[in-house]
Symmetry: C2
């Protein structure tokens, strides 16, 4: 399987892991072509999933009215509206339910999509783009805005754009404080 | 923040995203030093988390008896026992509850740790190691085996080792089938 074109070297993996941080201010003068969005989504789909069920589903939103509704569903986080592209990452819960019952719905569907989102964010970083993982939103409102079927659960709103400014990344706890060797 | 040593280039990020796949057979003759484990965990901790609460906690298991108990808790998936190192990734639910209530416990704690796990797996790949995300296990048994406090929820068992054989990665659905542009 060689769907991701290797092309020129973009970024070393530890550099991407280190550099990735939330970006909430976007350069509105720079567009993001669909082809690049597809490359990001292919990176997302390289994530592992329970039983390789791949429950992730993506809504790529450029429509201004829908972006506004998403921003409002997220408690008026206006940067969601300001991003040129917003990807709403959903899980098809019927897939996880069929495969693994309640644990599939309540755990694996969330883990699988989260792993895909992290891949997406690392690809975003490698491309010189910026994004922010928005998790606080009214799921019903998002479902209504996107006319989602009942089995499709929206799990994250990811606005994407070229960063307008450089920001630093918040610090992390020391490994020693959160790890036990046994 | 520059905690991850850059050093020699390990792997391009798209290559890591593409190459990462589940590894269940490990070369028992090759040890993994604690220093490398710490580097992997630092990569994990570069993940985003809701409110930067970093609810992830890690148990690094080398003890044979505990590894055996983990393998049994996972329905006798013996490769868990055979790996030289097993990392049990947990969430401190008290952190997520305090920050975000039920949504914190039922969603963000799971997403945050899953993003950290994906980072870990990509670093594993870049280091020429192999790992497998084991999600199917009896949480009570794992908690008992590791003497976890009640607020600590085990969310994944990650056996890690040098791959014994080359395996291919299962294919992915086409982006067109799982994406809507609106």
């Amino acid at each position: 399987m060689k769907r991701i074109k290797q092309g020129a070297i973009k970024m070393e993996v530890y550099e991407a892991l280190h550099k990735r941080h939330s970006v909430r201010e976007y350069d509105s003068s720079k567009a993001i072509p669909d082809e690049l969005i597809r490359k990001l989504l292919e990176a997302a789909c390289e994530a592992p999933s329970a039983g390789n069920l791949q429950p992730w589903r993506f809504w790529v939103v450029r429509d201004g009215r829908i972006k506004k509704e998403l921003a409002e569903a997220a408690g008026r986080q206006n940067f969601v509206y300001e991003a040129p592209v917003v990807i709403v990452v959903c899980a098809d819960l019927s897939v996880s339910l069929r495969g693994y019952g309640r644990r599939g719905v309540d755990l694996y569907a969330i883990q699988d999509t989260a792993a895909a989102i992290e891949n997406l964010l690392l690809a975003v970083c490698a491309e010189g783009l910026g994004a922010c993982w928005v998790g606080a939103f009214n799921e019903d409102k998002v479902s209504e805005s996107l006319s989602l079927e009942s089995a499709i659960r929206p799990l994250a709103i990811i606005p994407i754009g070229y960063p307008l400014v450089e920001r630093s990344k918040p610090s992390r706890r020391s490994i020693d404080k959160i790890t036990k060797f046994v």
